[in-house]
Symmetry: D2
Subunit: 427 residues, 4 copies
C-alpha cells in the first residue's frame, strides 16, 4: 500500500466543489432516462463521451453495453473502479420533479415502466466525477486507472459478460477492485465490513405447464393459476421450516404471470424467484428445496409435464478481502468526519461486483454510501419505523437527496484509488 | 309462427353447396386474422363489404366495431340473427396450416398472441353465408332480416354496447332473436333446451395493493405475490365449501399478474376472476364471497389499503323462451337427419346473447352446433376421455373440422329465420 | 303387491296415540345415552328387551352390536324394516333439558363427547314403536317381519358387518327392504324419489408421515402440521377444479389431528376425509385425485415416507328401486295428508342402507321424514336462511321436535310394511 | 467469588465414580416413568426422599409439584442449583430397553403418550447426584445450598409458580443461580456464552370458531378445518416475509386439532403456536402478526365470531450475566479436559430458567451439556447430516448415552456451586 498523506487527496479533490452542479445535472439526466439491463445505450454513450473528453482510452460494447476507460499514468498499480448503470422495471412514484416516465421492453418482451430505483444513476455519476478528477490531476499519482461502467447488474449477469468479453485484456489484471452502493442510510455515512458483506443470490425462472381451456370448464384443464398460487405459498415454507432461524435466507417470488383474461384458463404460468443467503451451501439448499417443491406441485396438480426451471443468474456472496478492507477502512476513517465511517451490517442484497475480484484473483472491497436525509432516517430508526417508512432500494419511492450524497460518493472513489496508487511527489 | 314447408327452405338453401368453397376461404381468412374485443376492424370491414354486396343496408361502428345489416323485404316479422366476431388472447397451438400467429394489445396494454379459440370465426362465417342465401332468395320470404355481427362477446360487453348505441333504432325491435355457438360436439349435431341453457357470469378485476421494495428485504414490504397466491387458493373454497354440491358454480382466476423481475417486490397484483352459476342468487353469493375473502386477505397481509374490485362485466343466464325454443326444436327436428337434433346439457359457458332479447322484450333462442370429428368425439366420450382429450372452446388446440360444420351452421340460421318469416307463396 | 285398504292400516295404528308417551320417554332415554359405533350395548339391550316383550324371536350381537327381531306370522312375503342406532362424537349444544353429556372412546382411543346428532335415536324409537304395533295386530297381516337395528352406520360399515355375520340366515332373504331417515324438514313431511336419492361416499384415513423435533428447530424436522394444512387447502381444488360444475361432488376433511403441544413438532398428522358423489365413476375420480394430491404433498414436503391412505368405508349411492318406490309413494300419498308426501331433492348425505337390498338382490326403498317446527323451517326457506340458520344432521344443535315427528315415522314403517304383507281378512 | 483450588472439588467429587451405578438406575427409573407438567408426583416424591436422606430441609408442593432442598452449612453465599423435571406428550420411539410406555392426560383432557424427550430425567438425576455429593462433603464448603427441582418447564410456567409460591421465603434470596440443559452434542462437551443464550418464546392457544354440520353439506357450515389449514400456511409468511433474514425468528404450530370423524364438520379448531426470537421487540411483532392474520382468516372464512387467542406462556430470552458467565467459563475450563469447554451458539430453544435470577435480582448462568455418542455427532456434523440425522430434544428418538453424560452433568453442578461457596479450609 502506498503511503497516503492528505496532500495529494486534497489536491485531487480541490475542483470537486465547482464540479458538483455539473454532476447534479448529469445525475438528473440519468435519473430521467433510465434504461433496462443491456439496453443502457444512451447512458453508455454519455459516459463514454465524458471519459474521452477526460483523456481516457475508451472501450465501448464490452459485455454488450459496458463502457471501460483506461488511463495509463506511469509505473504503479492498476486500480479498478466499478459502477453499475442499469435501471429496473419499476414505475416511479417519488413525485420528484425529475421523476422518470420512461418505458422499456423487459425480457418477456413486455412494455414496462423503467426507473433508477436502485441508485445506479448515482453510481454512474459518482464514478464519472471521480474519473474526471483523477484524470485532471494525473501528476498526483502514478499507475493505471481502470474505470468500469458495468451494464446489467440487476440479475442479468453484466459482470460475467464483461469479463468473458475480454475486460482484463484491455489493461491487464488490476491489483485491486473497488466499488460502492447507494443505500437508504443518512447521507454522509460510509459503511463497510471485512468478510461477507452482501448475500449470495440465485434467480430462477420457473414455467409451470398446465392445460388451457374455457374458464367455465376447469375440469377439462390443469389450471396454472392455482398451481402457481400454491407454489408461491409453499415456497414460504422454505425459509420458515427448512432453514435454521440463525441462518439468514430469503426466497422471493418477484414476478408471477398467468393468462390474459378472466374467462380463459391459460396453459402455463411463469414465476421469477430470487433467493439470498450468506452461505453458498445454504443457497444450494434453497435451490434444491425450490426444485423439489415445484416438481411436487406439478405432480399434485396433474400437470401434463414437469416444470421448466432455468437458473437466470447466480451471484456469489460479496465478500471483502480482510486486509484490503481493514486498510481502506482506516484510510476512510482518516478522511471522513468522525462518526461517519461505520461498520456495515450484513446486507441481504446481492451484487455481481465480487466477480471482478474473483476472476482476476485479486482483493476487492465494496462499501455502502448513505443517501437520505439524515434526520429523517435517524428519527425513523429511533422510532422503529425505518423498515416500513423509509423507501429502500427497489422501492418506487426510493429518492436520494443530492447533497452531500454526490460529493461523498466521488470522494470515496478518489480516496480509495489514491490509497493504492504510487505518489511520485510523496516520500 | 308462419307455417313452414320444405319448399322455401330447400329453395333458399339450394345454392349452399356451391357456396361452401367461398365460405371455407372466408373462415380460413378470419381464423388467420383474429382480432381482440373492440379491435375487430379488419373482420368488420370484410363482413360489411359482403353485406353490402348482398344488398343489405349496412351500419358499421354500432357498438364501436359492430356491424349491422338490414334487409327490409316487405310485410312480416323482423328476425334478428346474431353472430359474435371477437377472438381471444390465446396463443394458437393447433398445428393447423392456417393457424394464427397474430398478436394484439390487451386491456392492460400488453402485446399478446391472439387466436379464434372460441369459434367466433365460424360464427361470423355462418351468418355471412346465411345472410347471402336469404338475400339471394328474397322472393321466398317476407319481413325484415336484421343481421347483427357483435364485437366483444368475450367479457367486454359488446351486446350492451350495440344496444346502447341504438341497435334497435336501425330497423325497430325484432320479433325474435336467434343465435348459435360452435361447441366441441360431433359435427352434424345441433343441441338446445328450453329454459336456462348457459350460465350467468361475472368478471371481476381485483387489484391487491401491497408495498414494493427490494426482493431481499421482504420485511420492508407487503408482498403482493404472496397476497395474490393466497387469494387464488382461498377462492377455491367458495365452490368447495360455500355452494351446495347440487348447485352448479364455477370461480376461475384466469389472469394473474405481479411484478416484472425476481428481485423486486412489486407494489400491486392484478387478478381477473370469472364466475358462473345458473341461478342469479348464486351468482350474487359468489360475488359477495369473493369480496369478503379478498378484503380479509388484504387485512391479513397488512395491506396499506383495501383491494380495488371492479365488475368488468356481468352476463345473465342465457335462457331460451320455452315456447319459441320448443317450436324451433320441432322445426330443426324436421329439417335435420334423425339423431342429430338433441337436447343440450346445462352449459357452464356464458354469453351476452341474452341481452338482445331481454332489451327488446322478445323471445330469444340460442343453440349449439357441433364442430369436431364425430368418431373421435364419440370414442372419447365412450372411453371417458372427452374432458381431458378433446380440446374445447378457449383451448389453444381448439380446431373444428370444416365439413359438415360450415354447412350445418348456415342451415340452422336459414331454417330458423324462415320458420318465422311470412312466406308469400305458401298457404 | 297385496291390495291395501285403509282398514288393516287403521286397525294396526289404532293404539299409536296411546303409545306415544312411552315412545317419547324411549326417545329421550336414547337421546340422553348416545353410544358410538359398535359400542351401542345399552341401546341394543333395551331394543332387544322390547322385541322380546313383543313376542319377536330376538338375535343380538349380529354384526357385533346389532339386534334383529323375527316375527313369523304365516304365509306371505318377508319385509325387512331397518333402523340405525349409533351416535356421533359431537358435543351437544342444543340446550335441551335432555341434552347428552355422554362421552365415549373414538377409534383413535380418545375420550370424546357423544351426541345423537344424526337422529338415530329417533330411527330406533320409530322402528321399536312400529314393531310393537305390528306384533300386537298380527291378525291383520300375514308374512314374516324382519326388524333390523343396525349399529355403526356412521362410517363404520355396520350394514356390511350384519350381512357378513349371517343376517339373511336368520329368516331367509327378504322380499323388500325399507328404511327411513330423519331430516331437517318440516315435521309431517315425508319425501322420497325413484332412482338415486343419496350420494355414494368414501371415508379415507390419511396419515402423513413427517419427522418430529423441537418446535424451535423446524429445519431438523419435516413438519406434519404444515403438510396437513397444505393437503386440506389443496383438497379444495378437487371440487373447484377437477369436477364439472354440473356434477355434484363433496370433499370434506372432517377430522385433522397433529401433535399435542405448541413447542414440539410432531412426527405425523392424521386426517379423515369424506367424499360424496351421485355417480360411482365420479367417486372413484375423487379418490384418485385425493391420492395423487396427498402423495405429491408428501414428496414436496420431503417426507421420510409416503402417506398411509386407508379406505375406512365406501358406501354406494342409495338408489331406490323405481317400481317399488313409485308404488310406495302412491301408498304414502293415500295415507298421509295432502301436501305432505313430496318429491325428495338429491341428498348429498350417504347411507349404507343400500347394502341390504344389494346383498339380498331385492328392491329397497328409503325415504326421509321431516322433524323440525314447520313454520320455522318454511320461514327460513322463504327468507333464504335455511342453510345457515336451521341446524341440520350432524350439527351440535340438531334438535327435532317430538310431535308429530314420532307419530309420522311410526306410521310410515307400519304403512310400508302392510303395503307388502298379505292381508288374510282382505280381498 | 471464593478462590477455587482443585482440592475441595476433588474431595467432593471423589465418591462420584462409585455413585454412578445408582445414578444410572435413578435415570432409567425416571426415563421409564415420565410425568407431564404439574403431574410429576412420583418423580417429586423420589427426589424429596433422596434430599431428606441426604440431610436437606425439604419442601414439597412448592409451585404445585416442585421440590426444594435447603442445606444451611454455615456462613457464606447462597447458591441456587435448578433442574426441571417434567416430561412431554411424545410417544417414545427410541427402541431403548427402558423406553417409556407411559401415558398421561394433557391440558385438553386427552389421554396421550408421555416421554422424557427433552432430557429432564437427566437434569433431575444430575442435580440429585450433585446434591448428595455436596451434602456428604459439607466440611469442604460453607454457605447455603438451595436445590430446586422445578415442575412444568415445558410451556406451563413452573418457574413463575415456584417463585409466586414463596420459593425465596424458604432460604432467602440466592446470590447466584445456576442451571444446565442436556443437548444433542458430543457427551463430554460443556457449552455456554455470555449474554443472550436462548430465545424468548410465546405459546399461544388459538381457537377458531366455525359452524358445524354434516360433512356432505359444507354450504351450511363454516368449516374450521379449512380455516385452520389456511391459518397454518399463512403463519409461514410471518417468518418468510415479515421478519428480516438477519433477525432469527421461529413460528411453529405444534398442535392442531379439528373434529373427530370424516363425515362431520366440527364447529371449532384448536391450534397451539409457539414462537421464538432473541429480541423481545421481535417476539412482540410475531405475536401481533399472528393475531392480525388469525383475525383476518376468520373474517375471510365468514366465521360466526372472532378467534379466541390465549397467551399460554411467554418466556423471556435466557441471558447469562456477563461477569458470572465469564468467571464460570474460566472455572470450567480449568476443571474439564482441553477442548470440551466450548462457546455455545445461539440456541432457538427457550427456558424459564431466567425467571429465577430475574425475580431474585441476582446473576444467573445457564449452560449446555452434550449427551450423544461423540463420534456419531461429529461425523454427522462433518458430513452435513447433523440436522437431519441426529435426534434432538423433543424428538421421539432423542436418546442420550449414559456415560460420560451422567458424570459430566454432576461435575458441572458441583464445580459451579463450589466456585461460589466459601471454603473454610482454604486460604
Amino acid at each position: 500500500m502506498g503511503s497516503v498523506t492528505s496532500h495529494p487527496v486534497e489536491r485531487v479533490l480541490a475542483p470537486l466543489a465547482a464540479a458538483l452542479p455539473g454532476l447534479e445535472a448529469l445525475y438528473v439526466d440519468f435519473h430521467r432516462h433510465p434504461e433496462l439491463a443491456f439496453a443502457e445505450t444512451r447512458t453508455a454513450a454519455e459516459l463514454a463521451r465524458r471519459l474521452e473528453a477526460d483523456g481516457f482510452e475508451v472501450h465501448t460494447g464490452v459485455g454488450r453495453t459496458g463502457v471501460v476507460g483506461v488511463l495509463r499514468n506511469g509505473e504503479g498499480p492498476t486500480v479498478l473502479l466499478r459502477a453499475d448503470i442499469d435501471a429496473l422495471p419499476v414505475e416511479e412514484k417519488t413525485g420528484l420533479e425529475y421523476a422518470s416516465t420512461a418505458r422499456g421492453v423487459d425480457e418477456a418482451g413486455n412494455d414496462v415502466p423503467v426507473m433508477h430505483a436502485c441508485g445506479h444513476d448515482m453510481h454512474a455519476t459518482w464514478l464519472s466525477g471521480a474519473a474526471s478528477l483523477l484524470a485532471a490531476a494525473r501528476e498526483e499519482w502514478s499507475g493505471t486507472l481502470l474505470v468500469v461502467f458495468q451494464p446489467a447488474e440487476e440479475g442479468s449477469g453484466g459482470a460475467s459478460e464483461m469479463i468473458a468479453d475480454g475486460l482484463f485484456d484491455l489493461a491487464g489484471r488490476p491489483d485491486v477492485v473497488y466499488g460502492q452502493h447507494l443505500v437508504p442510510g443518512p447521507a454522509g455515512w460510509v459503511l463497510t465490513r471485512a468478510g461477507v458483506l452482501m448475500a449470495a443470490s440465485d434467480t430462477l425462472r420457473i414455467t409451470l405447464h398446465g392445460r388451457g381451456g374455457h374458464g367455465s370448464r376447469p375440469e377439462t384443464t390443469v389450471d396454472p393459476a392455482v398451481m402457481a398460487a400454491s407454489v408461491v405459498l409453499k415456497l414460504q415454507t422454505v425459509v420458515s421450516r427448512e432453514v435454521a432461524a440463525t441462518e439468514p435466507a430469503v426466497v422471493t417470488v418477484g414476478s408471477l404471470h398467468v393468462g390474459s383474461v378472466g374467462n380463459v384458463i391459460a396453459d402455463h404460468a411463469v414465476l421469477e424467484v430470487n433467493t439470498r443467503a450468506f452461505d453458498d451451501a445454504v443457497l444450494l439448499r434453497l435451490r434444491a428445496a425450490i426444485e423439489r417443491i415445484v416438481n411436487a406441485e406439478a405432480a399434485g396438480a396433474n400437470a401434463p409435464k414437469p416444470p421448466t426451471i432455468e437458473l437466470l443468474n447466480s451471484y456469489p456472496a460479496t465478500s471483502n478481502d480482510e486486509t484490503a478492507s481493514d486498510e481502506l477502512t482506516e484510510v476512510f476513517r482518516g478522511h471522513f468526519a468522525d462518526g461517519t465511517m461505520l461498520p456495515a451490517p450484513l446486507v441481504t442484497g446481492s451484487e455481481d461486483f465480487g466477480e471482478f475480484g474473483a476472476a482476476a484473483g485479486v482483493p476487492s472491497v465494496f462499501w455502502l454510501v448513505g443517501g437520505l436525509e439524515p434526520l429523517e432516517v435517524i428519527t425513523a430508526m429511533t422510532e422503529g419505523r425505518f423498515e416500513t417508512d423509509i423507501p429502500s432500494n427497489h422501492s418506487p419511492r426510493f429518492a436520494p437527496i443530492l447533497h452531500p450524497t454526490l460529493r461523498v460518493g466521488v470522494e470515496t472513489l478518489v480516496v480509495a484509488a489514491l490509497s493504492r496508487m504510487s505518489h511520485p511527489g510523496v516520500g
